[in-house]
Amino acid sequence: MTDYRPLAPYALLTILALAVALLGTVPAARRSGALGWITAIGAGLALFISSQSPEATPWLGMLRLDAFSKACNVIFLAALAIISIASTAEEHRTAFAGEFYALLTLSTVGLMLMGASGGLLTMYLGLELSTIALFALAGFSKREKRSAEAALKLLILGSVASAVVLYGASIVYGVLGTTQFFEMSAAMSHPHAAGASAALYFGITFIVAGLAFKVAAVPFHLWAPDVYEGAPSLVTAFLSTASKAGGFAALLRFLGSVQVPEDRTISTLLIVLSAISMIVGNLSALSQKNFKRMLGYSGVAQSGYILTALAAGSATSKTISSALMYLLLYAFTNVAAFLVAQAIHDATGSDQISALRGLHRRRPTLAFCAVVVMFSLGGIPPLAGFVGKLYLFTAAWDGGQRCLVLIGALTSVAALYYYLMVVRQIYLLDPEDDRKITVAPAIVMAISLCTAAILAIGIYPRPFVTMGEAAASAVQVTSVAHQREAAPVVAASDVSSPHLRP
């Protein structure tokens, strides 16, 4: 008898999505922002249930509900809750508010499935669920051409990426005869599997490439700046944090539990992805004038930082815990950054960095939060970004990726330039227009929450490191344990010697 209780958060969110979509039919005047609050509370509730529920691996290990998936849920649900709160400010203006929250919630469910995936099938299912919802969300400002363009771009490129993942998965399945991560691990360590390694690496490379699209790593990043710029800021906030975290969760789950033997190929791939992401992302961001576009390129670079840890060897616990911690703090930081963009857009109608000019006089609290966010993205202590980046680089250095750490540290200096250019607009220059600007209280509240989280993680990172460590050991323990118990199973099915297939 399978224990279905751990599935409660997933069920809750699915029901929530349907309920919110139904409630969206109530006229906007009569619900006054209630949908956003319902979604936020639902997300909070799901987070609570998820943290309390026991661990389980239902459905023959298709889902792995363990410390890792719980840690991922914290990231996704926190992003969902904060964005929902901020969206209440927009709710009366949005034509399809119910659908907006429903799609956002469904996308979150998809991401949670990616974090909890026990095999390629679940991973792909989660990937599709989250991405398809995002196609619609990116085009949510229907009357804006750029939004439509963003949606179309995401749709076409996203579909290609999904196809690439699926193609890779089919090759891997063809070689190994299984889609479950732990069985794959065992099959690979099997002596006869060695002959098929070229095809196997080909498949794995395709899977990694498809996921690299999701996390916007160079050279699969070209969609990111355009879509970030075109999509509504609230959607971009989700796209750049939770969706990216989902991609990394899948990568970590996949590379962490599948112990690829002699994985020089894979680590070389990750090293290259990481190095060029940091360099291209940071250098491209230097010349941007549009705030959201700049954040898009900065997000590419941030993916590069996280990839340094992954390149150091996906098997070490530091890699997984540091990446998870960084994704969590990055979720708070970048959501806040895009909410600032939203607030500025509401007030001035512009997305340019120059629209932030003199914010310290026009709205001091928002200016303070924005500066904290920029400094955190730049990795300045005592903010979260500093601890996170240091942790990532520690993991990378331990794994022997010293060159990557050097590249990361030096490109961070270049990155600081464009973050400081934003700070310069906010604090150093006086506004052309001295009037105060109004920002919706919901957005201020959401940004303040994020700022508080950035400070808290930065000053006292201990609980988050502990959470990451627990998640890391969950991934590894299952992989090691299953390797042992799964080995005989594979040996028995050896008759069909997968590697002999053409």
């Binding site: 202590p381 331990d398 200096v413």
Partner: protein
């Protein structure tokens, strides 16, 4: 109580910085009083640190140590030795003076003072930290607010906008941080223990190849802040653009962080690497001394003169450090203190002159001594200290630096001493032009002398210079004990053998009272620590 002194010194200014943000901008007096309290409250602990430091025992004292993030090997570990307590005292004096100097600053005072105090909290933290994570964290906190302090409140001059200076300074120092970070990660990952704790790392034996490159990274990283040639270019622009209090603190204390970092992380933790690079360091320091002084001679803007003189004087600090012998190190730290007070005094005086005369171009000034005698006297004392006139703190400091270098590379010491001559030329010429030339009443209708608060601030600084010059022993003792008893165990052993050989030298005996006793004490301590 003793173990809380360091934490109080670090947290008091930071707490005041947070409180300041909560006070409404209109409450001008309250803002200034809170800021002054936040700054001055660090003085009693700083003095207590110097007095309570047990000279017989030596080593690191006032220890506070608890786990922060155990899985990463991060501990909140603060402790101070003789060198740290002296530098903490210097910082406490300068920040108090700095708050006085910004007493009449008109715009956005609240944020200005808040950032200044945050920065100083970081400086205290660096001097006290015994954990590399916290050291780096405090270092960044000390460096970063400079961007806003110069960018918002600075002044543009000579075609260099304040935004340009601020950005240049920040990016160059952050590039230095990248090097420091790499060195720190290298040390962290070197042993299997994986700890940021500096005491534990001091027991790790780093191999020669590692030390070679790690020292280079530490030297370049911290050296940028110490203004080593040719990476000093941020310093003149930055100091010239910064408002008075910020220049005081930046040239007075922040540049010392760089030298302190090279000493603590480089020379003490990577002694072999220091030996490898000592000649390079000495050469660069010599260039610094001469180049800084010659550049200062060519400047017309008063602030640029002082800024280039800082480059020159920091060269002397690095010269002392590069000698790698106790005499030179003592000289280097003494020069840090001396130059810190001196340059703080200089920038305070320059601020006062600029506020009244509305120009910083030396050629336009003249005969100011009749109008502002106190400023003239104080600045002259600073000037005399800057070329090391006996009976000022500059003498003992520079003498020890040059003597230390003489013991190691006599030729470089001889070349560097020429810097003093050049310094004397530009300082005396500057003083003569500003204070003693012909006063032109048409240009300057009114030139009042310093106000009472400012008068107190600059006279105290000037008295410090003379006081230290007349009786440097307490400071030299503290520094010397600190330096000798906080070495790596293997280096102490080596130094003791050398000391026996050096003991015949009169100066060695003069400078090193009871070193043997102190050494054996620390060794006992260390043994006790190990058994525990």
């Amino acid at each position: 109580m003793n173990e809380w002194l360091l934490t109080i010194t670090i947290l008091a200014p930071m707490l005041a910085a947070v409180i300041l943000l909560l006070i409404p901008e209109k409450q001008g007096l309250a803002i200034r009083l809170v800021a002054l309290a936040g700054a001055a409250i660090t003085l009693p602990p700083a003095i207590l640190l110097c007095l309570n430091y047990d000279r017989a025992k030596g080593g690191y004292q006032f220890v506070q140590d608890f786990a922060w993030v155990p899985t990463l090997g991060i501990r909140y570990h603060v402790a101070a030795d003789g060198i740290s307590v002296v530098l903490i005292l210097l910082t406490a004096v300068l920040i108090t003076g700095g708050v006085f100097a910004s007493w009449t600053r008109p715009d956005r005072t609240k944020e200005f003072l808040s950032l200044l105090l945050l920065l100083v909290g970081g400086v205290f933290g660096v001097f006290a930290a015994r954990d590399l994570f916290f050291l780096f964290l405090f270092y960044e906190i000390a460096v970063l607010p400079m961007y806003l302090l110069i960018g918002v409140w600075g002044t543009s001059s000579q075609g260099r906008t304040k935004e340009y200076s601020a950005m240049k300074l920040t990016l160059m120092l952050m590039a230095g941080s990248a090097f420091i970070l790499v060195a720190i990660l290298g040390m962290y990952s070197y042993s299997t223990v994986h700890t940021f704790d500096m005491d534990a790392l001091a027991r790790t034996k780093f191999d020669a190849g590692f030390q070679h490159w790690a020292f280079f990274a530490v030297y370049v990283g911290f050296g940028i802040l110490a203004g080593i040639f040719p990476l000093h270019t941020w310093s003149p622009d930055g100091h010239a653009s910064a408002p008075t209090a910020v220049s005081m603190l930046h040239a007075g204390v922040l540049m010392k962080l760089g030298a302190y970092g090279v000493l603590r992380l480089g020379i003490q933790m990577l002694p072999q690497g220091a030996q490898d690079w000592s000649f390079v360091m000495a050469c660069i320091a010599t260039i610094n001394v001469l180049y800084g002084a010659i550049s200062a001679m060519g400047q017309t803007d008063l602030k640029y003169i002082i800024a280039y003189s800082s480059v020159s004087h920091m060269g002397m600090v690095m010269l002392g450090l590069a000698s790698l012998n106790p005499v030179g190190i003592n000289g280097a730290v003494m020069q840090m203190v001396s130059h810190g007070v001196m340059t703080g005094l200089f920038f305070a005086c320059v601020g006062l002159i600029y506020e009244r005369a509305h120009t910083r171009i030396v050629a336009k000034m003249g005969g100011f001594a009749t109008k502002m005698p106190i400023v003239a006297v104080c600045m002259t004392v600073g000037g005399l200290a800057s070329f090391g006139l006996p009976a000022t703190s500059g003498f003992i400091a520079e003498f020890l630096c040059f003597y230390g270098m003489w013991l190691r590379y006599p030729a470089l010491a001889l070349i560097a001493i020429l810097g003093i001559v050049v310094t004397a030329v530009y300082v005396l010429r500057m003083m003569q032009k500003i204070f003693f030339g012909q006063f032109n009443p048409e240009d300057y209708h009114e030139l009042p002398d310093a106000r009472t608060t400012e008068r107190v601030a600059i006279s105290v600084l000037a008295c410090c210079l003379i006081g230290i010059g007349l009786y440097p022993k307490p400071f030299v003792d503290l520094i010397d004990i600190g330096w000798r008893t906080t070495q790596r165990p293997d280096v102490i052993e080596q130094a003791r053998r050398q000391h026996v050989a050096d003991a015949t030298h009169p100066l060695a005996a003069l400078l090193t009272p009871s070193v043997h006793a102190a050494n054996s004490e620390t060794n006992n301590d260390r043994n006790r620590g190990l058994t525990r």
